[in-house]
Amino acid sequence: MPTIVVDVMPKAELLDPQGKAVAGALSRTGHAAISSVRIGKRFELTVDGPVDDELRASVQQIADEILSNSVIEDVVNIDFGDAEPAADASTEA
């Protein structure tokens, strides 16, 4: 069953209090090399049928309107899982 992955991040300009807290914890525990952390969300959507154009459009809409809050977040990536089966096929061949 295909899995579609949607990545959502807080807008770059906006404060990310969670990321800031983790960055603070890293620096306190001696990981000086890491200067900044931003935390986003990853959604894994499992679909039963094929991933056709209609579904792609509908996932794009879901990502923009439901999974993210466009005022403060951006959908940075939607992975429809096309790459994987293609890669598998080539290795087998």
Partner: protein, 778 residues
């Protein structure tokens, strides 16, 4: 030559040419986007005249945000002056800091002072309800800190669209969880406020946040930059790209349909950073390490630098490169306009800087010294070694444009006022009265607001003496003596729509009465005036009437307005909201142990109605709920009478003669009885013969009229004679209307209806739960 250096530096900041003061002077012809920044052509021309040249882009950014309606009060200033003029020595007696500072301060005795203020965060709360409301709380709390006070409580006056409109749930869920998130994380009790639903607020909810702080007299701090050579220090969160131009763009214009915004117009708050900032500031105050302090809110660094300099010695020189940034690509203009949250600016003596830095380091608060106070009379800002701002700070912060906007009497108001509710059919039979009573109890605006208030922590810090759903919130200030303060907020947009002057007085009277019924003595006012567009002459008429009514009312009651804010452009399309002046009144009680709760707890106590009831149904909840009617003239109000009533209640509380007191407002006696019964489940038998007989009114009018100056109290039998004597001595109308009955489990109104408490509570709790989901805690 200069241009060349500029070009090199500019490459680093990825800007073509740095617009320095020198460049601006040399290139007067350059076109500037003042229109997009919200400035009018004549305002831009005025800036050029002030400077004797065109402004640099950084200066233009500063002027545009500081001259916006939100920051400059350019349309309201001419009216707000009345608050300063209509003042008596009595009103100044306890006033330590009045209007114009971050928040007003009142002396409440025993060496304690209290500061409080209410402010709007309406527009951001529609766009992004959660963060908009959360940062509204954060902003008002920082105003309180900057006076040198410890914040001790918050309140919120909320107005949403029609409860059944599909978008209302989005706004309500976001706003309420934003407030509870920020307030609960900060550890501040939320002690009350208001929740209203009306379609006039559909695309423009009102989120007015109030905060209360306490301080010892000697801890008072002001926002001014005095003493040349003193350091200008920015501390707290880093500056990022959030809310750039939020104040000017969001609060100065109505929402355009569609059209994506380039920069996020909202800000994201971090309550934990704010909590650290509170404790850090209080330690700085304790160590006497700051001379002046100001929080960064709307217009960020532009506002803080120009206001601090204007209120002090008049000059300041800072280096903008020293601002700690979250996003290194920000341009100087963006840094000046950024509204990143949880930041403060302090003025520190050079010899105290070390001590200051020690404290901020202890609290892990990032800090940078930006420059110093000067006596040059100029605000000078450097960027990459070149001067990009050189202005007289007063021209930015104080002497902005002042408009006498056209005012027009709305001709529609005559017909509106003539359409009185007295013509509406009133219920005559007991069955009809019962049905309409329950309809009112189950209407959105009379419904139990626990869905909202149960999401807030009301008791954190351990000093809450009263909270929602009592008429006012009460906080103990001194744990030894029991000295406390009581705060209530009120507004009735329906009344103000019918008659803005009268509506303002009624809101003031109600907030005053709500404080008085807790047994406290009202002392001061903070107001948040929410209106439509000032460019609409009819809105300006509503505004001018409101300010006159409010300032006259304060004069009559003898309590000062200590501060507040004005929010214009509250409208959807061309339709302005009802004028909504939210009035917060703060009162003092010598010992919170003597407070009066609003609900009934004891059996067999006499119920008295204080004040007279007349046929006053215009603008009432009954007219709106049962007949969908809004017309006529709002109830009469006697502020002289309210004063007598308040004194009477304070005396009764002090002598322990009454054990509950509840204000009558929207929904009249009917709703007051329902609330008093529902609170602790103690029923009552009520007889209205004396009320209807004396006034010559029918039972329905007695129940649903919204005459002002009325309160119901319960009096133990043994204090009956003394209590009646107290009322008669003060000449205030008093009538016995019933007796509490703990075993009846119902509210019985003779000749009208009997409703069990279970049914009452069920009907009353349903509207919010049906619209938004289950209530926490039931």
């Amino acid at each position: 030559m200069t241009i060349e250096t500029t070009a090199t530096t500019a490459a680093e900041s990825s800007k073509p040419v740095l617009d320095t003061v020198e460049v601006a002077a040399a290139t007067p012809e350059k076109e500037q986007p003042y229109g997009a920044l919200g400035l009018k052509p004549d305002e831009y021309e005025r800036i050029r005249n002030i400077l004797g040249r065109r402004p640099t882009s950084a200066e233009l950014a500063m002027y545009s945000v500081m001259w916006s309606e939100h920051c400059s009060y350019k349309s309201s200033k001419v009216y707000l002056k009345q608050f300063g003029k209509k003042v008596t020595p009595e009103m100044k007696q306890h006033l330590m800091v009045g209007m114009g500072e971050n928040a007003g301060v009142l002396d409440i005795g025993e060496g304690w002072a209290v500061t409080f203020k209410i402010e709007s965060h309406n527009h951001p709360s529609y766009i992004e309800p959660f963060q908009g409301a959360a940062t509204g709380v954060g902003g008002i709390v920082r105003d309180i800190i900057s006076m040198g006070a410890r914040p001790v409580a918050v309140m919120d006056a909320l107005r949403f669209g029609d409860i059944s409109h599909p978008d209302t749930a989005r706004v309500v869920h976001g706003v309420v969880s934003g407030i509870s998130f920020y307030g609960n994380c900060l550890g501040l009790p939320n002690i009350g406020g208001e929740t209203w639903f009306d379609s006039v607020y559909q695309a423009n909810p009102l989120v007015n946040a109030l905060a209360v702080g306490v301080l010892r007299h000697e801890d008072l701090h002001l926002a001014n930059a005095k003493g040349a050579g003193n350091k200008v220090v920015l501390f707290g969160a880093r500056t990022g790209g959030d809310g750039i131009g939020g104040a000017s763009i969001l609060a100065s214009d109505t929402f355009a349909e569609g059209g994506p915004t380039k920069r996020p117009a909202v800000q994201v708050g971090d309550p934990f950073a704010e909590k650290v900032l509170i404790e850090c500031c209080l330690e700085l105050f304790q160590g006497d390490l700051v001379e002046g302090i100001q929080d960064l809110g709307a217009a960020g660094i532009s506002c803080a630098t120009s206001e601090l300099a204007s209120n002090g010695d008049g000059g300041m020189a800072i280096v903008l490169d020293d601002v700690l940034l979250r996003d290194p690509t920000l341009t100087p203009e963006e840094i000046l306009m950024s509204e990143s949250q949880e930041r403060m600016m302090a003025i520190v003596r050079p010899e105290k800087l070390e001590g200051f830095l020690k404290v901020v380091e202890k609290w892990d608060v990032e800090t940078s010294v930006l420059g110093e106070v000067t006596d040059s009379g100029r605000l000078s800002i450097m960027w990459h070694g070149q001067e990009i701002v050189n202005v007289d700070p007063r021209t930015v912060a104080i002497d902005g444009p002042v408009y006498e906007r056209p005012v027009a009497y709305p001709t529609w108001i005559d017909a509106l006022q003539a359409d009185t509710a007295a013509r509406l059919e009133r219920p005559a039979t007991p069955d009809e009265i019962r049905e309409q009573f329950l309809k009112l109890v189950g209407s959105a605006n009379q419904a139990d607001a626990a869905w909202v208030t149960n999401q807030y922590d009301s008791y954190v810090l351990g000093n809450t003496a009263l909270g929602a759903p009592d008429d006012a919130g009460m906080i103990r200030v001194d744990e030894e003596s029991g000295l406390g303060v009581s705060v209530a907020t009120d507004a009735n947009g329906r009344y103000s729509y019918l008659d803005p002057r009268q509506g303002a007085k009624l809101a003031l009277a109600e907030a005053y009465r709500n404080v008085a019924v807790t047994g406290a003595k009202p002392m001061g006012v903070s107001d948040c005036l929410n209106f439509g567009s000032p460019e609409n002459p009819e809105v300006m008429w509503q505004f001018s009437e409101t300010v006159e009514g409010l300032s006259d009312g304060c004069l009559e009651l003898g309590i000062p307005v200590t501060g507040g804010n004005v929010s214009f452009y509250n409208q959807t399309g061309d339709v302005p909201i009802h004028p909504t002046p939210v009035i917060a009144v703060l009162g003092v009680i010598d010992d919170v142990a003597r407070r009066l709760p609003s609900g009934w707890q004891d059996d067999g106590h006499n119920i008295y109605l204080l004040g007279d009831t007349a046929l006053e149904l215009d603008g009432s909840a009954w007219a709106g709920t049962v007949h969908d009617h809004l017309g006529g003239r709002p109830p009469a109000v006697s502020l002289e009478g309210e004063k007598v009533l308040a004194e009477l209640l304070a005396a009764a509380a002090l002598e322990g003669l009454v054990d509950s007191a509840h204000d009558l407002s929207d929904g009249g006696l009917a709703i007051a009885l329902a609330e008093a019964v529902s609170r602790f489940g103690v029923g009552a038998r009520v007889f209205l013969g004396e009320v209807t007989g004396d006034a010559g009114i029918d039972v329905a009018t007695a129940l649903f009229s919204e005459s002002a100056g009325r309160v119901i109290v319960t009096v133990p039998r043994e204090d009956d004679v003394k209590f009646r004597g107290l009322c008669e001595g003060r000449g205030y109308p008093v009538r016995r209307i019933g007796v509490t009955d703990a075993s009846s489990n119902s509210l019985e109104v003779q000749d009208a209806f009997t409703v069990s408490i279970d049914e009452l509570r069920g009907v009353n709790r349903a509207p919010l739960a049906d619209a938004f989901g289950p209530v926490v805690g039931y």
